[in-house]
């Protein structure tokens, strides 16, 4: 069935575009427009697959369709924010670079947005499924704390004017936050666990899996586009901040 191959094909296109961007700088002018168009198109088609094409789930009925929005949000946040931790380590240990700092800022903001919305969607889903909006489940708590940690990170960035200090300190905060995510996961796992086990695609109806994969690819494209534009914005702001002063008045007078 050709529809089954759709998500993978679209993923291949997205990855191809990114490779174009990285390998051939000349393509950068149009690559992001194409990727943005792909994301928009996929978003427009996504409700068809998620809401009508996919069948009702045997146990959970219709509300399970929320996961077609909830899980992609969460996955992308869990991609963006840990990437921010890695970049922060890179910034402190390997190389101080404005590009890395700008990319961290972009990832943090996009990650907080996706994580925050995804968390909200998760609690909307939890209500019909578990009967409550919130339960002390490891994934729920870790995700919530992650969003909070990076809200703090973004706040800190806004409160420091000096670009070097901002970059260094926010990298430190991100590293401590990264260590915290792992620990929170284990702490809450010890506390209790009632979350659904992630079902592996083999056991689930193919017609349920395809929209899920489709949504993931849609959000992946969307996130890449957002991060790219946010990164360019951060870099432009940084360039203004770090421009060296002009060389005038170089006369040296000794009385």
């Amino acid at each position: 069935m050709w529809v089954k191959a759709l998500p993978l094909t679209l993923l291949a296109i997205a990855v191809g575009l990114i490779v174009c961007h990285l390998a051939v700088p000349k393509t950068r002018t149009w690559v992001w427009k194409v990727l943005a168009a792909q994301a928009v198109l996929m978003f427009l088609v996504q409700p068809y697959f998620a809401l009508t094409w996919a069948p009702r789930e045997v146990m959970m009925g219709d509300p399970y369709r929320i996961i077609y929005m909830h899980v992609p949000h969460m996955f992308m946040a869990f991609l963006a924010l840990p990437l921010n931790v890695i970049l922060s380590v890179w910034y402190l240990v390997v190389k101080k670079s404005w590009a890395v700092d700008a990319l961290s800022e972009a990832l943090a903001e996009v990650g907080v947005y996706l994580g925050g919305v995804g968390w909200l969607l998760g609690s909307i889903w939890a209500k019909p499924t578990w009967g409550v909006y919130f339960s002390p489940d490891p994934r729920l708590i870790t995700a919530g704390i992650m969003v909070f940690l990076y809200l703090g990170y973004l706040t800190l960035r806004r409160l420091i004017e000096d670009p070097e200090k901002r970059a260094t300190w926010s990298a430190v905060v991100s590293i401590l936050a990264g260590a915290d995510l792992v620990l929170t996961w284990f702490a809450t796992k010890m506390f209790r666990s009632i979350h659904q086990l992630p079902s592996s695609p083999d056991t689930v109806d193919a017609q349920i899996v395809m929209p899920f994969r489709f949504s993931l690819v849609a959000f992946l494209c969307f996130m890449f586009v957002l991060v790219w534009h946010r990164y360019r914005l951060a870099l432009a702001l940084r360039k203004n901040e770090i421009a060296p002063p002009e060389a005038v008045g170089q006369t040296q007078v000794i009385a």
């Binding site: 978003f43 409700p47 809401l51 009702r56 045997v58 146990m59 959970m60 009925g61 219709d62 509300p63 369709r65 929320i66 929005m69 909830h70 949000h73 947005y113 919305v117 909200l120 969607l121 909307i124 889903w125 209500k127 019909p128 499924t129 578990w130 009967g131 339960s135 010890m190 506390f191 209790r192 666990s193 009632i194 659904q196 969307f222 957002l226 534009h229 946010r230 360019r232 914005l233 432009a236 702001l237």
Partner: protein, 59 residues
């Protein structure tokens, strides 16, 4: 982990035991929230990028 034993008491609560009926209002709410997020964040980013470009154009 002894604490995990406690988790058994708190297994998922499936309402009624059989197939769950209805619940579309939750789906609509979730989609509304997600779309609001997508549109609002994209819009805010677009405005900021445009503002920055305008500022650089002036220079």
């Amino acid at each position: 982990m002894n604490t995990l034993l406690l988790a058994d008491e708190l297994k998922p609560i499936f309402i009624g035991g059989g197939q769950m009926q209805g619940g579309w209002e939750f789906v609509w709410t979730a989609y509304a929230v997600a779309w609001a997020g997508i549109i609002l964040y994209s819009l805010s980013l677009w405005l900021r990028v445009r503002g920055q470009r305008a500022k650089e154009g002036v220079k």
